[in-house]
């Protein structure tokens, strides 16, 4: 067992701090479209990027029964706003994830995504992946 506390690790907070500030900037950009659950991982190793994970979420005013549609509308609106296409990402059981390609906010990479289980919504999201956004 480690008797003393950690040999002081080098404080590696610079990139994570920059990412948290960039997340705040992203929310300011997106305004009411910015219903995002934000996560920023620890700076695990200098060779790996520190990025913002932004998963589209819900607010209490949203209709729970239309959750997938609400989140697709948000993804689509953000895609138009930022001029970025919608891409299919992964499938796990009945869950299908869609995302924007990585983009930078203040040089920090952002992974903005959501996932659906409703077949109609998945079909609509697939149709949107062929739209050209610029």
């Amino acid at each position: 067992m480690t008797a003393p506390y950690l040999a002081p690790a080098p404080a590696r907070l610079g990139r994570q701090t920059a990412a948290l500030h960039a997340a705040a900037t992203l929310l300011e950009w997106l305004g009411h479209l910015g219903v995002l659950n934000i996560a920023v991982h620890a700076d695990y190793a200098p060779g790996l990027p520190v990025e913002i994970d932004a998963q589209i979420g819900m607010v209490t005013e949203d209709d729970d029964d239309q959750g997938d549609q609400v989140r697709l509308d948000r993804l689509n609106a953000i895609s138009v706003l930022l001029g970025l296409p919608i891409r299919r990402e992964w499938t796990s059981g009945s869950m299908h994830a869609f995302a924007l390609p990585r983009f930078d906010v203040d040089t920090v990479p952002v992974h903005l995504w959501t996932a659906f289980t409703t077949p109609d919504v998945i079909t609509r999201a697939d149709a949107l992946t062929t739209e050209v956004r610029r």
């Binding site: 067992m1 480690t2 506390y5 950690l6 040999a7 002081p8 690790a9 080098p10 404080a11 590696r12 907070l13 994570q16 701090t17 948290l20 500030h21 997340a23 705040a24 929310l27 300011e28 997106l30 305004g31 009411h32 910015g34 219903v35 995002l36 659950n37 934000i38 996560a39 920023v40 991982h41 620890a42 700076d43 695990y44 190793a45 979420g57 819900m58 607010v59 209490t60 005013e61 949203d62 209709d63 029964d65 239309q66 549609q69 609400v70 697709l72 509308d73 948000r74 689509n76 609106a77 609509r124 149709a127 949107l128």
Partner: protein
């Protein structure tokens, strides 16, 4: 394609931005202690606090096994923030411990870690025992969540002159913490359906009252959620959890 977009939600990013800045302050306060996965959820409802979730992680350069490094970081953070360590939840092979009562710039911070190594778990237990602990069942969890929600709503409805805003704020924070514990416990017990039922029972009555029409589908859903909870609370042998029971809660109350 849907003909019309969902109506625009109100822009509610202010509190989330404040929480992101509080997360930065937390990192600065902890310095080399901080290897944290920081999450700040969307501002779900104006009634609920927006908190910082900070799960202790590791750096590539940390010496030894991950559990030992995370334990050291948890203990160092407890000392740095002057906060007690409590046991939060347990599954068959994992146990979670957290600091309680941490706030940075008024934002509640949930700083926690998960361990699997029995030696590390034993040491963490010894520290948490300083706060006292007792087993927590599914039925306890449901009751604790509903009790804290009731306390909160009662306080919110109180007449203006007697309203105690400090107490209301504490009740919000307590209810929020109870919700994350509740969700963690129930999800780990494979009862994610109960999380949805609890939130339905809490939020649907207001939605039914506020909607212009009778909304029979919402009433139906509320009824189903209540039945689900009643069944879970009445089950004969609720799987035990290792969990600290929040003060002032009773079991069996619906």
């Amino acid at each position: 394609m849907a003909a019309t977009l969902t109506p625009a939600a109100p822009a509610r990013t202010d509190r989330q931005i404040i929480a992101l800045h509080a997360a930065v302050s937390l990192l600065q306060r902890l310095g080399g202690i901080a290897a944290l996965v920081v999450s700040v959820h969307a501002d779900w409802a104006p009634d609920f606090p927006v908190s910082v979730d900070a799960q202790i992680s590791v750096h590539e350069a940390d010496p030894g096994p991950g559990d030992a490094a995370r334990f050291d970081r948890l203990v160092a953070a407890a000392v740095a923030l002057n906060a007690p360590i409590t046991r939060e939840w347990a599954t068959s092979d994992q146990q979670a411990f957290a600091l309680t009562g941490v706030r940075i710039d008024t934002v509640p911070v949930h700083l926690w870690a998960v361990f699997t190594d029995p030696d590390v778990i034993a040491r963490a237990h010894a520290l948490a025992a300083l706060n006292g602990g007792s087993p927590m069942t599914i039925s306890d969890t449901i009751a604790a969540y509903r009790t804290s929600g009731k306390a909160l709503r009662a306080m919110d409805r109180g007449p203006r002159p007697t309203r105690n805003f400090g107490a209301t704020e504490k009740a919000y924070a307590f209810h929020n913490a109870t919700r994350s514990r509740m969700a963690g416990l129930l999800a780990d017990a494979g009862r994610g359906d109960l999380v949805h039922a609890l939130i339905d029972v809490e939020t649907l009555p207001a939605r039914i009252t506020d909607s212009p029409g009778p909304r029979p589908e919402l009433r139906q859903r509320l009824k189903a959620a209540r039945a689900t909870l009643r069944a879970a609370q009445n089950q004969q042998n609720p799987p035990p959890f290792l969990h600290r029971r929040p003060a002032g809660t009773r079991t069996g109350e619906l």
